[in-house]
């Protein structure tokens, strides 16, 4: 062995030497039972500092997140995140599907806020097509309503799983119980509880079902009763406050440097909410407040989420009022060469094309049949170019970068996921704190690993 084999040891060639000084510090080689002696004699902190792996399978890491922590006793000296355990290659998959089929893929990225992902993608497609102004108002209102109900259900999961991770299991049962109400609304409007391919380029897939608006009214009334229960359970709870206050502190400078958006940014007191600043889909016409707090810690973020749910209920009420005046309005863009051809209905074997539509394309209009066939098999072509649309998902700023090469498939679809950027703040929030606070800090960011890994 020549000296070049071990350049970092400064020329020492014996890999079994007891100790050698390398460029990364002293390296000790132990063979067998002398481990304890060597370690104890060398570094007084060595038996204090250990590297702990909170592996991808863990009840408290908010999904398949791997945390590599170097801890000294109970305090964390270094925290790193290992991600990628849920990487699905959705973005590459979307390059092999038509523009409309892309909706079904992007919806499964962040499975807790699927409507937002669909909307971000569809707003991008519509911008590329140039039909942003032609999307009917009813579709816009339905999108806003679904997104706000999604915001409520997502915040409920955030609070529920956050509570579960710190051991407050009642918070979890209460949160998931309320979420069922949201899922009932989704099921009524889109046919599915989760991962609905509801928002499509040009509008939405389904019109308001019969009794749908009354159901949403009942939903809002029931949530207005139940959300204060959740608040009463947690807000002044001394254990809850003790676990969450002053944990995961990240001020405004830290948030901007690390690219953190969403409730974490608003907990610093800065009212950055894309619904107000860069409104989309008609948000500028709704009356709601942006919730901020001056407590940039986990407790502040928790309170923001609770209050945001109330604001979402306000928006949903306004949506329902508008929908009542928009009876009979179309929910898809008028251009037949883009609009999804069929309306869906529930038949004896599940949800599918409504029989009325089938009668129309088979019996009445050849053009409609051709449009249906071509749109479903080939899809529409989108002019070449690239766009970047952003919207405010429950976790922060969600953006979609779409590149089109003029074909029926996205050339490149990339989603700037809020959880991906927010999770980078883990180290800043946890280092120096205690091990249990790492869990709370991450729960307060509320990352959804499907979005992080895509």
């Amino acid at each position: 062995m020549s000296t070049t084999d071990f350049p970092q040891t400064g020329g020492s060639t014996d890999p079994y030497a007891q100790s050698q000084d390398t460029t990364s510090g002293p390296v000790f080689t132990v063979t067998g039972q002398d481990w304890d002696e060597v370690v104890a004699g060398v570094d007084p902190d060595a038996n204090e500092r250990i590297v702990v792996n909170m592996g991808p399978q863990h009840p408290s890491t908010h999904g398949v997140l791997r945390l590599i922590l170097e801890i000294e006793g109970e305090s964390v000296t270094e925290a790193r995140c290992g991600i990628g355990y849920l990487h699905t290659g959705i973005e590459k998959n979307m390059e092999y599907r038509t523009w409309t089929q892309g909706v079904t893929f992007c919806t499964r990225m962040d499975y807790l806020a699927p409507m937002h992902y669909e909307a971000a993608y569809v707003l991008g497609v519509e911008k590329l097509l140039g039909i942003t102004d032609q999307v009917p108002e009813k579709a816009q209102v339905l999108r806003v309503m679904m997104m706000e109900v999604n915001r409520i259900s997502s915040h409920l999961v955030a609070i529920a799983t956050g509570g579960m991770e710190i051991g407050a299991l009642t918070v979890m049962t209460v949160g998931f119980r309320e979420r069922e109400l949201c899922l009932d609304v989704f099921e009524m409007f889109s046919g599915l509880r989760m991962n609905h391919a509801y928002v499509r380029p040009g509008g939405v897939a389904l019109d308001v079902p019969e009794g749908g608006l009354d159901a949403v009214d009942r939903f809002v009334a029931l949530m207005r009763k139940r959300l204060p229960e959740l608040a009463a359970l947690c807000n002044q709870n001394p254990i809850f406050k003790g676990r969450l206050k002053d944990v995961g502190y990240l001020d405004l400078a830290g948030c901007l440097a690390l690219g953190v958006t969403g409730p974490a940014l608003r907990s610093t007191g800065y009212d950055w909410d894309l619904r107000k600043k860069q409104p989309y889909s008609g948000y500028e016409t709704y009356d709601f407040d942006v919730i901020t707090r001056d407590e940039p810690d986990a407790y502040g973020r928790f309170r923001i989420r609770l209050d945001e749910m109330n604001e979402s209920l306000r928006i949903v009420e306004q949506c329902v009022a508008r929908l009542r005046t928009l009876e009979g309005a179309p929910v898809m863009v008028a251009d037949k060469k883009i609009a999804w051809p069929s309306q869906l209905a529930v038949g004896p074997d599940g949800q599918g094309n409504s029989l009325e539509h089938i009668r129309h394309i088979m019996g009445e209009s050849m053009e409609a049949l051709i449009h249906h066939f071509k749109l479903v098999t080939e899809g529409f072509r989108v002019p070449a170019g690239q766009v970047y649309t952003s919207l405010e998902s429950p976790r922060g700023e969600l953006s979609c970068h779409l590149v089109s090469d003029g074909g029926t498939r996205p050339y490149r679809a990339h989603f700037r996921d809020p959880s991906f950027s927010n999770l980078q703040a883990t180290a800043a929030m946890s280092e120096g704190g205690m091990l249990a606070d790492v869990i709370v800090a991450i729960a307060s960011i509320d990352p959804v690993m499907g979005g992080v890994d895509r």
Binding site: G89, L129, D335, I338, G379, A384, E397, S399, R416, S421
Partner: protein, 246 residues
């Protein structure tokens, strides 16, 4: 909505569907990216569609010429002042204005400098880097891998895009982690999926794929990697081997 530029820019009237761009007036050039022949994805002797002679140039929006319209001109002027060079020769190779969005094509060595100016100058103030991603254009020889930086100015409530093109043979770009710490993971992701090496990045390793994964999955020459699905006598090929229309 970001502020729309008023006047000046002439966008090509893009037909919503039907393929071909209408060639526009002289306000901007268009970049022919490739020429597609035929229809329904069939080529050669098996093509009985009758559309075999159809040739469609795929044109991407190319460099725009002044005036860009609205605040785009102010941004371009301010950048010229700060860099001491004019758009076109120097750090910024070209400016593309398309669909109300401003894209600056930047030379790869100058990216941190341009980002520093964009972040620090009060008139520009792009505090937040919302993300970096890659796009692979295999037919653009010498400029295959593009890294796209999206910046957001909260003070002025607007967005800008920086695009850097590097060849596959030498995919190095200077890292902007010193300017935007949030770019850390984004650059790692772009490296992971496209193989673009960011010089100066503190720890450029794979982030989403396993650490020892060969290849860069989101490149166009990397296969999708699916398997054929068999069910009761029928076999469905994986998505990248199915019929394509474009």
């Amino acid at each position: 909505m970001s502020q729309t530029p008023t006047g000046g820019t002439q966008e090509p009237s893009s037909t919503a569907v039907g393929g071909e761009e209408v060639v526009p007036s002289e306000a901007r050039t268009l970049e022919v990216v490739e020429v597609r022949e035929g229809m329904f994805g069939i080529h050669g002797s098996g093509d009985t569609t009758g559309y075999g002679g159809l040739q469609r140039p795929i044109v991407m929006p190319g460099a725009s010429r002044r005036p860009f319209g609205g605040w785009f001109d102010d941004t371009a002027d301010q950048l010229e002042r700060l860099l001491g060079e004019s758009i076109g020769d120097g750090a910024v190779e070209s400016v593309v204005v398309d669909r109300d969005e401003l894209t600056l094509h930047v030379r790869r060595e100058r990216v941190p400098e341009v980002c520093q100016h964009l972040r620090d100058d009060p008139a520009l103030r792009y505090e937040l880097c919302t993300g970096i991603s890659g796009v692979h254009y295999p037919h653009e020889t010498g400029r295959e891998l593009h890294a796209v930086y999206h910046l957001l100015s909260m003070t002025h409530n607007r967005r800008i895009r920086l695009e850097v093109a590097v060849p596959e043979s030498d995919p190095h770009i200077a890292s902007v982690v010193a300017v935007y710490p949030t770019a850390d993971w984004h650059e790692r992701e772009t490296y992971d999926f496209f193989g673009i090496i960011f010089d100066g990045h503190p720890a450029l390793t794979r982030i989403l794929m396993p650490d020892d994964w060969p290849g860069h999955p989101q490149r166009k020459d990397y296969p999708l990697g699916g398997i054929p699905v068999e069910y009761k006598g029928a076999t469905i090929p994986p998505p990248d081997e199915r019929r394509s229309y474009s």
